[in-house]
């Protein structure tokens, strides 16, 4: 009996220490988010993680509209970035964009929904596998993910679905091209009653030869009528992009700086 009890205590202590050890691999969150450990384990696994001022998350000082909150991630101060994950810890759909870079600069501007006060962060992975995290708390009114999109309330979403606007500008200083892409799309989260999830789920940008420069997994927490701004290598000629939604529809565009 005594031996059994000792065994149980030993197992419990061992488990506890193991749990502490696995937490210790993720640095303590400077934002004190209740969801940090959960997201960190899921996103980063065993890869090294640091909070890094070179990951600049540029946001307005007020969340004026919790359905359309602008975020710019600029990690161009990092060398060899290969992936950007944009997330809001306390959103029901925490990840908004997972952007894989192939010749695109670590820069992304878009707009997301906020379902409540939450940390908004970018995690940027460099080619050595390490993650660099930046971000801040944003105060927001509730319901950005669970209120119906404006075009659903107006009822005209289908009339404009997939309208694409955009343009490209030379970024001469850095020998790059800035590309802006906007789409009319309700970006339904599935959290509004009787409206199933329906969103753009993939966005791919190619150079004139068809080489992929960047590709994004896009989630329902990106704002209605989404807009994306990226910076890619300048290979001359036109850039093409294609967005695919969860119904398999494709929306394409072509822009030349």
């Amino acid at each position: 009996m005594n031996r059994l009890r000792r065994l149980i205590v030993a197992v419990a202590v061992g488990w506890g220490l193991h749990a502490l050890a696995s937490y210790a691999e993720v640095p303590a969150d400077p934002l004190g988010s209740p969801m940090w450990d959960h997201h960190a384990v899921g996103l980063f696994g065993k890869a090294p993680v640091s909070f890094d001022v070179r990951v600049n998350v540029r946001i307005p000082e007020i969340a004026e509209n919790q359905r359309v909150f602008p975020v710019t991630v600029d990690a161009r101060a990092l060398k060899d970035a290969k992936r950007i994950v944009l997330l809001a810890d306390l959103n029901p759909i925490p990840i908004a964009v997972d952007y894989t870079l192939h010749g695109a600069a670590p820069f992304l501007a878009t707009r997301i929904k906020l379902d409540q006060r939450t940390p908004v962060r970018a995690a940027v992975q460099t080619s050595d596998g390490a993650w660099h995290v930046g971000g801040t708390w944003v105060d927001a009114a509730g319901g950005g993910c669970s209120a119906p999109p404006v075009s659903r309330v107006k009822g005209d979403w289908a009339d404009h679905l997939g309208e694409v606007r955009g343009a490209a500008w030379p970024d001469i200083e850095n020998d790059k091209v800035r590309l802006r892409m906007t789409f009319r799309h309700p970006m339904d989260t599935g959290l509004v009653e009787n409206v199933p999830p329906y969103n753009i789920e993939r966005l791919t940008v190619r150079d004139t030869a068809g080489k992929v420069l960047g590709e994004m997994d896009v989630f329902g927490s990106v704002a209605e009528d989404p807009a994306f701004t990226v910076v890619v290598d300048d290979h001359g000629g036109a850039l093409t992009f294609v967005a695919r939604d969860t119904a398999g529809l494709e929306f394409t565009g072509k822009a030349k700086p």
Partner: protein, 316 residues
């Protein structure tokens, strides 16, 4: 396994973890203490603080005005909450010796309109468009104000004004005033000219040394409304926010701000900026003394930018 250093470090972290708990300790609302300043015979201004709505200021950011009449005081803009409206009513009673006889709500925004909850709906009046806009947005505003202001808002339920005002001259308790029906800052903007004193109550059509807000703005209509106010002879102007305008500069300053804002945002779209970048645009030095300029620029980006993109970015 943790080594001793890690355990020590964990120990050192504990006070840091306690700090947010203290910061989140419950705060309680204070008491509204509106101060009236006489600006003409039988006319007082009650200044709001020139800040964004925040718990620390109880949302008392808009200016109000009190006009004495034989029937009792007229209150122009009753504040953000029931308690605020009651406090403004108490000031008016103290000044005039009679309870508030009539309340005017200049436009729908909560810092000007929700204090109507302190008064009988029969004496609260606004333009028809303002009543319609409050029917649409009033409950949403009330929710938003409870979230930001918590118990400052206690007892505040939406009181809709009578939407019965039209442009023209009226006499209340012997006082001759002109109601001026405009729009542009919102769908219905009421201005009032007090004939005897020449005081013009401009509501949020005019901001003075405090950046203009644009959540329901129609900038073309706003400019026309500013033309009307500029050509309405007056001696003093009470802006919706910011200090009393004694030298006639506030109308021009408000126009200057929106005339800078709109082309600046259009230019930002054409140059390829996204919203958060447009919110970081440099603000011209001539607006350096203007309160809440960056804050209102970023709000205006939120209000105006998506429509400008739809207009200016080429269809592909």
């Amino acid at each position: 396994m943790m080594d001793r250093r890690q355990i020590l470090r964990a120990g050192l972290l504990t006070p840091a973890l306690l700090t947010p708990a203290l910061a989140l300790a419950e705060q309680f609302a204070g008491t509204y203490r509106p101060q009236a300043e006489q600006i003409a015979e039988g006319v007082w201004i009650v200044r709001g603080v020139d800040e964004p709505i925040a718990f620390a200021n109880g949302g008392a950011i808009a200016n109000s005005a009190i006009l004495a009449t034989e029937d009792g005081p007229v209150l122009f803009d009753p504040g953000v909450s029931r308690e605020h409206g009651l406090a403004l009513g108490a000031v008016a009673l103290d000044l005039c010796g009679k309870p508030v006889a009539r309340v005017y709500v200049s436009h729908l925004h909560p810092d000007h309109a929700l204090g109507a909850a302190a008064f009988s709906p029969q004496i609260v009046h606004a333009l028809p468009a303002t009543r319609a806009e409050l029917e649409r947005d009033g409950n949403g505003f009330t929710d938003a104000m409870y979230r930001l202001l918590a118990d400052w808002m206690k007892g505040t339920a939406l009181v809709l004004p009578q939407g019965d005002l039209t442009e023209g001259d009226v006499i209340i308790g012997g006082r001759h005033i002109r109601l001026i029906a405009l729009r542009g800052h919102s769908g219905g903007d009421l201005a009032i000219l007090d004939q005897a004193s020449g005081v013009l109550l401009a509501g949020d059509l005019v901001f003075n040394n405090r950046a203009s807000s644009t959540p329901h703005a129609d900038l073309a209509q706003w400019r026309l409304a500013l033309d009307r106010l500029a050509t309405t002879p007056h001696r003093l102007l009470v802006p919706g926010h910011g200090p009393l305008d004694r030298d006639g500069s506030a109308i021009a300053q408000t126009r200057d701000w929106i005339d800078w804002l709109e082309p600046a945002l259009r230019q930002a779209v054409v140059q390829g900026m996204d919203m958060s970048e447009a919110g970081e645009l440099p603000i011209p030095p001539r607006f350096a003394g203007m309160k809440a300029a960056r804050y209102e620029l970023q709000r205006s980006v939120s209000h105006l930018y998506p429509a400008l993109e739809a207009e200016l970015l080429p269809r592909l």
